[in-house]
């Protein structure tokens, strides 16, 4: 198992607080790996570190052997690691389709000047982005709302759009922060299928943070558990479910109960 993404002894301090404490794990190509843990465990912070939205205090993150920690978000995105946000994050005043089209930015062949002048390359780009956007819209089942302004959408659609935006960048690794939050059971299972197909059909490696344990157990190849910033377990869903330390960590917290 050659690691595509490798998190190596990553630590993040906020003043006196250690939000992420010496966490290491590897993600293989085409794997779906979930990071779970109680609220405040440091999961979102871990995602911010991997995507360079914030800088590590120590340790490093490697993509195919190249360091991607302590760069800037757009550089990491260019290298193929793209995050979605915990709160549904979209371009509010754009239509669904425009949200997706603009997110093809990294795939531009033409320069901004080329787009300004309407060069042949730019027109080819525009046509390609349009086709790809329609493809993603269909993949995520957003056809009915493609021309809706994003701010009018309900939660479930916002989450799907957030994923569409991530997908449009053409990522190698997609980091999904609580992609099923605010969804009912059916919507969640639908999304679980989509995430699977993201991997199966499009070869995207998925790293996700999620609270919905049923979904996590169903979707993950492997799971990493963190508590108070530290990794306390790593393994297959069934191994994690019977791990004493994990059960203890979760019994200690009020709002999360592990199980199917």
């Amino acid at each position: 198992m050659a690691a595509l993404l490798s998190v190596q002894g990553v630590t993040k301090r906020y003043g006196g607080l250690i939000a992420v404490n010496n966490v290491s794990f590897d993600v293989a190509a085409s794997e779906i790996l979930s990071v779970i843990g109680p609220n405040g465990a440091g999961k979102s912070t871990l995602f911010k570190l991997i995507s360079s939205f914030t800088q590590v205090t120590s340790g490093k993150v490697l993509l195919e052997g190249d360091r991607i920690s302590n760069l800037t978000p757009h550089v990491v995105a260019r290298k193929g690691v793209v995050r979605t946000f915990q709160e549904a994050t979209i371009f509010r005043a754009m239509t669904v389709r425009d949200n997706i089209i603009v997110s093809h930015h990294l795939r531009s062949q033409a320069s901004l000047l080329g787009f300004f002048l309407g060069s042949a390359k730019a027109r080819a780009d525009e046509a390609a982005f349009g086709d790809s956007a329609d493809d993603i819209i269909e993949f995520l089942g957003l056809q009915g709302i493609a021309n809706e302004v994003a701010s009018n959408l309900p939660q479930g659609h916002l989450r799907a759009l957030g994923m569409a935006i991530g997908l449009a960048t053409g990522p190698k690794v997609l980091l999904l922060d609580e992609p099923f939050a605010g969804m009912n059971h059916d919507e969640t299972m639908h999304m679980v299928n989509l995430v699977r197909r993201l991997r199966d059909d499009r070869g995207v490696t998925v790293l996700l943070v999620e609270h919905d344990m049923a979904a996590v157990m169903k979707i993950s190849d492997r799971i990493v558990v963190i508590n108070f910033g530290q990794k306390i377990a790593e393994g297959t869903p069934s191994a994690i479910q019977s791990n004493d330390q994990v059960i203890e960590a979760y019994l200690g917290s009020e709002d999360d109960v592990i199980g199917m």
């Binding site: 939205f53 946000f85 239509t95 603009v102 309407g118 730019a122």
Partner: protein, 333 residues
């Protein structure tokens, strides 16, 4: 562009470049040339401010670049004996480069913090103009010669303004043409990928970064385009008035540029042009009210902004066309 908007643009150009001069000649109100020339040039500076709004930044510092552009042109014409028409783009480029250095640190700020810093910038530029030796301090630079001729390969593109019977008309025509070009460029920017990226920046900087947009670079690029507009507007203005002082563009002007954008409508490329026209004429029309001029003027602006928070162009009259445009944009992509 569809046929209808193309037609609208052609009609607009004919009105500005042909109908207005004919009407002025008929009515004998030659003073209107100066007024309309000012409107055209101030609306170019306002267009720049509008473009900083477009990346989500309130810019109350355009006066600084107008002043800097004016001085660059004046100094080059007076001290280096350069043709004004060459100094015009140089003034724009100077301001664009200057704004890169100023923009890099301050564009990290958002909202009221950015606005405050830009406001101070105008005052800093005025003080710099007072202090620097090259600007001749408070006495300013006066008796700047009229623009010379421009010819390429023996073909005269622009005549020497000293030889003209009516330089006022000539200034109006070049200023209006410059305005039309600037707004054409702005329109094209907004409707090209650069505009789309700017909208992404305006609506969500974090998300823009995560889809791979180099947001600090894009912010600086947008700000330097904006400042370029400020610089050429200032330079052209100084050529018309043939003199420049540290007080030629001040905080009040910076505020007005911003108000022009608010009033015309931040959602519309041509908003600042309309805003400038309305505000400039509004101010002039109130001249007869004497000491109450500022009071009435300010109250009316407050009222207008309260009643039309999205600007004059958001009125139903204009909206039908705008909506049609939006719809077409979607289909076109």
């Amino acid at each position: 562009m569809n046929i209808r908007s193309l037609l609208a643009v052609i009609v607009f150009i004919i009105v500005v470049l042909v109908a207005v001069p004919v009407l002025i000649a008929k009515s004998g109100r030659w003073d209107f040339y100066y007024t309309l020339t000012s409107v055209a040039l101030l609306s170019i500076a306002s267009a720049g401010v509008w473009f900083t709004f477009y990346i989500g930044r309130i810019n109350i510092g355009q006066g600084a670049y107008a002043l800097a552009g004016g001085y660059v042109s004046a100094v080059l014409v007076m001290k280096a004996d350069m043709n004004f028409w060459l100094t015009l783009p140089l003034a724009g480029i100077f301001c664009a480069v200057l704004s890169v250095f100023i923009g890099m640190p301050i564009l990290r700020l958002r909202g009221v913090y950015f606005a405050m810093v830009t406001l101070i910038l105008t005052e800093v530029m005025r003080l710099a103009a007072l202090a620097l030796p090259v600007t001749n301090g408070a006495k300013g630079i006066t008796s700047i010669p009229l623009p010379g001729a421009v010819s390429i390969g023996g073909v005269t593109l622009l005549p020497d303004f000293n030889t003209l019977e009516n330089p006022k008309l000539a200034f109006y025509l070049v200023s209006a043409t410059l305005m039309i070009i600037c707004y054409g460029v702005l329109w094209r920017i907004v409707n090209s990928r650069l505009g789309h990226l700017c909208r992404s920046l305006q609506q969500n900087e974090e998300l823009a970064a995560s889809i791979g947009v180099n947001i600090s670079w894009l912010r600086v690029l947008a700000y330097s385009i904006s400042s370029f507009f400020g610089g050429i507007a200032g330079a052209m203005f100084i050529a018309v008035s043939q003199s420049i002082y540290p007080s030629s563009f001040q905080v009040a002007d910076s505020v007005n540029f911003m108000l022009n954008c608010f009033l015309g409508g931040l959602g519309y490329v041509f908003g600042p042009m309309l805003g400038t026209l309305v505000l400039y004429f509004g101010w002039d029309l109130l001249f007869s009210t004497g000491k109450y001029q500022l009071l009435i003027y300010s109250s009316m602006i407050i009222l207008l902004i309260l009643l039309l928070p999205n600007g004059i162009l958001s009125l139903g009259l204009f909206n039908r066309k705008i909506k049609a445009d939006k719809h077409r944009d979607q289909e076109g992509q």
